[in-house]
């Protein structure tokens, strides 16, 4: 049973560029959430996708956008990259939006913006 997978594992970009990160949820899961974890901090919620729609959003600017496909995989797009966007980006999946569902996290994509 495949767990949550993310690609790429590492990425280096320069300021002003755009980046797309990808996530495949755990088998059987249909909800994908994205988190940003800066060095030495706890993960911060970016947004959540369910049934191909953004259902919740954290305190992140519009430069951060996403998409969910019919197969439940998801993308996180960040435009006009800033140095402060350097972080570990984590994808988490769960089944539905039931509040008792545990979220399973992927290995993350480490983004460095120069």
């Amino acid at each position: 049973d495949a767990g949550v997978t993310q690609s790429p594992t590492h990425l280096i970009k320069t300021r002003g560029q755009q980046v797309t990160l990808r996530c495949s949820p755990k088998s059987g899961h249909d909800t994908v959430s994205w988190y940003q974890q800066a060095l030495g901090q706890g993960p911060q919620f970016i947004f959540q996708y369910y049934e191909e729609e953004e259902r919740q959003r954290g305190n992140f600017p519009d430069r951060f956008s996403g998409h969910q496909y019919p197969n439940y995989s998801s993308e996180l797009n960040v435009n006009a990259l800033l140095l402060g966007d350097s972080a570990l980006y984590l994808c988490a999946s769960s089944l539905g939006q039931g509040y008792q569902e545990t979220q399973y996290f992927g290995p993350g994509t480490r983004l460095l913006v120069l």
Partner: protein, 110 residues
């Protein structure tokens, strides 16, 4: 503002000793999660606590939840080096958005 605070932020322990990590949160929540993160790695789910008075144990780790006090504890018994990691607590809302604490870096020394 919704806040989740952990203390201590850093904990250096000797092997064989016991200690407790505390997690306080600022709003009502009946779900409390504990995660472990090794350096450069993702988050590993340890415990999900769903009701007041819930207690769960796995090996040398035991977690408890007091929803009235808005407090969860992670107790470490007879620490071993393999437990060295960063531990996060998180509370969950109605749609599974997680709010994480600041994390506790645990270093177990021989």
């Amino acid at each position: 503002e919704l806040k989740v605070e952990q203390n201590p932020l850093f904990l250096s322990m000797q092997e064989g000793k016991n200690y407790t990590i505390y997690c306080n949160y600022s709003t009502t929540s009946d779900r409390l999660y504990w995660y472990r993160q090794d350096p450069g790695k993702s988050l590993e789910s340890l415990f999900v606590l769903l009701s007041n008075g819930a207690v769960k144990q796995e090996g040398r780790l035991m977690a408890s939840l007091d929803t009235k006090a808005r407090l969860s504890t992670l107790h470490i018994t007879a620490a071993v080096h393999d437990l060295s990691a960063t531990y996060f607590c998180a509370i969950g809302g109605a749609t599974n958005k997680l709010i994480f604490g600041t994390g506790t870096l645990l270093a177990v020394q021989p």
